[in-house]
Amino acid sequence: MEKPILTKEYLEKNFKNTGTNLVPYQPKEVRTSTFSSNLKELPNKGIVRDKVVDLETAIKNSGLQNGMTISFHHHFRNGDKTVKVVMEVIKKLGIKDLTVASSSFTDAHNFLGQYIKDGYVKALQSSGCRDELGEFISAGNCETPLIIRSHGGRARAIESGDLKIDVAFMAASASDCMGNANGMMGKSRCGSLGYAMVDAQYAKTTIILTDNLVEYPNSVISIPQNHVDYVVEVDEIGDSKGIMSGAIRLTTNPKEEIIAENITKVIVNSSLFKNDFSIQMGSGGASLSAVKYLKKHMIEKGVVASYALGGITSHQVSMYKEGLVKRILDTQCFDLAAVESIYENNDHIEISASMYANPHNKSPFVNNLDFVILSALEVDINFNVNVMTGSDGVIRGASGGHSDTAEAAKISIVCLPLIRGRMSCVVDKVNTIITPGNTVDVIVTDFGIAVNPLRKDLLDEFSKAGVKLKSLQEMRDFAEGIVGKAKPIEWDYNRPVAIVEARDGSVLDIIYKRKG
């Protein structure tokens, strides 16, 4: 059976229970959505009230009922301890059939599989899903398909009403009694609360969980009290060390060094590499290694960047401290150096996911980006990128800001090794499209650089600069010459397990259960 084509009729027939209006992706069209606020009733009418309550009371007062949607943010990544605490109380209260719409799921959320089995959770919506939970979803264990959205797409969905959050549970490392909260102070810091800011603003009820109740009014306000209904004190919201897990690492892996050099070649040979350029660097090893080469060129040519955007690591912070980047715009801190910096430096600015990349607001920061460096699991010869399903077809990644920045940045650079394990990473067709090929400008591997034929301007620019280019077909053929052609995965097209939305909310791809 061939993979079904995503038509409106197919989506309407097969996805009646997702609770959202599904429209197929069209590369040349932008799906419009109407701004709407979910705040239909003003809860307070200006009366000062005591917001500090225990978790059970907060949940009861929120009116949470069977079938509603709750949300979380994932800034603690693997160190998250909030989702579990909340879900345990929900279980105790016997509230079932919930949709959990977290900004992402990490290894810390594997336990949700059991909650799905037990009927407390009926659906998940998120940017990412990994580890045991990814395997659980991929195996078709959740009746309702997981909805995968980019960070900007999620903010769009919340603001437009496509994703209606009934109760948002937001972990904050410092909050006062009225809910003025941040992630920068206290023992359990995670830095920016970029994702949480959107949930807190648009959810019908927002509950702050904190392990650090500070004197009113809080001195740093990321989430303001006018967006908060209740404040709950708990023992521990998360482990700060957990934010550094996963993809964020710096390595001297020789393949990644070659990729980093190739990334730098692309950037420094572009006419956009000049004073006040802007950049987002990914969290993968190669893009982090590119920082050291890029710094060298910036110093040599006396070029300073206007801003670094996105998930922030110590590498961008060091560039800022060395005067190579004027400002840092931060939706998510990826290590403790970034957490320190966002608290200490005025030019390290916390921004919401909507300010970062919502395609339907009045102008997100991604639209001003010159360069973005992104990682990938696989790419195909049409420049489509998969960052979600592994070579075995199992969900083990995150859309994140991938498609947001690829579409918006003037030059989007996707980097990956040509061969991983025993497989070519450049293939005929990716298993799952997370970022469509028409938005990807350059693919960089350890074997060379390929420019999207749609970018004739870049082809001219690089050819004049003497940058040697290869085609993706050449890359694929070379890799397959070494490791052979992988046997395609057999999918059960009658059992969809996840829906991938493009950032504008149209349906870009469907992930199915594997056969066998």
Partner: protein, 300 residues
């Protein structure tokens, strides 16, 4: 037939343990001038057979030469039970070259060549494998000139640092001063016989600056290149070898002036106020060739 014509000078020879399949696959991306698959120290006794089989299988499968990479195999020494089987494996793998460790006498080379001829014939090989000789003892260093000219298959010689030091009963000094005599001696042997000369490995793979300093030093002594144990060291060698844009421009100008002088039938010519003859021009032509290898603008 394995027909591999070198188009670039040997600058780095990457050690790859011959029992590691993933490294066979990955090493092609690092673009070393030569990959040296190691059957000797990197492979445990119990794994020698398996490593040989892997070597034959993969070298017949991956065409390194198509990527401009020369293949070499470091075999086990004459004094081991593995010597002959290793040579047979090199022939069956259709490698370009064999690296003989711990060479000391002309007889060592003769034994190696005799077995190479035997297995080349048995396997109907229609080309002759080349030889790279490693000297790793005081006797080897002292005999190097005679040993290195013992066969016309020999294209290069190398110093093996660790065993040499043990044999000398010396100690490792901060700047490897204990190797100075051997280094200078081998450079003289190499230059006298027109062979490539390679230096010892640099063990601290996290010390880039230390590696670069040592490489610049041995290059000044006259070495062609260095055996490397980590792919990142290839990049460091290239950084030292890569001509500057100014050097390239100077070389291109001299080439143009030389071509003009040839047209005029002159043997020597005036270039930027200096009289220049053919050997000086040849040095500049080498720079242009190197610049081509590094895709430098203007050289291509």
């Amino acid at each position: 037939m394995v027909k591999f014509d070198r188009v670039k000078p040997r600058k780095h020879m990457l050690f790859v343990p011959a029992d590691r399949p993933s490294l066979y696959r990955d090493s092609v991306f690092y673009k070393p001038d030569t990959i040296m698959f190691d059957l000797e120290d990197a492979v445990a006794y119990s794994e020698k057979d398996a490593a040989r089989m892997l070597l034959i299988e993969i070298l017949n499968d991956i065409d390194y030469n198509a990527s401009g990479i020369e293949t070499c195999v470091r075999i086990n020494g004459l004094d081991t039970e593995f010597f002959e089987k290793d040579i047979e494996a090199c022939i069956k793998a259709k490698a370009n070259m064999i690296r003989l460790p711990k060479a000391e006498t002309v007889d060592d080379v003769n034994q190696l060549v005799a077995l190479m001829e035997k297995y080349e014939k048995e396997n109907n090989l229609d080309y002759k494998l080349k030889i790279f000789i490693a000297f790793e003892s005081a006797l080897g260093i002292l005999n190097a000139f005679e040993v290195a000219k013992a066969s016309d298959r020999i294209v290069g010689i190398a110093l093996g640092g660790m065993d040499y030091l043990l044999d000398l009963k010396g100690s490792r000094l901060p700047n490897r001063e204990e190797l100075l005599y051997a280094r200078q001696h081998l450079v003289h042997v190499g230059r006298a016989l027109k062979l490539d000369v390679f230096d010892v490995v640099y063990g601290n793979t996290s010390d880039d600056q230390g590696f670069i300093n040592e490489f610049k030093f041995i290059k000044s002594l006259g070495f062609d290149g260095k055996s490397v144990i980590h792919p990142n060291q290839i990049r460091l060698i290239n950084e030292v070898y890569k001509p500057t844009q100014e050097q390239l421009e100077y070389a291109l100008e001299m080439k143009e002036a030389f071509e003009e002088s040839v047209k005029l039938g002159k043997g020597v010519f005036l270039f930027k106020g200096n009289m220049v003859d053919k050997p000086v021009v040849e040095k500049q032509l080498e720079i242009i060739e190197l610049a081509k290898e590094f895709d430098m603008e203007g050289a291509l």
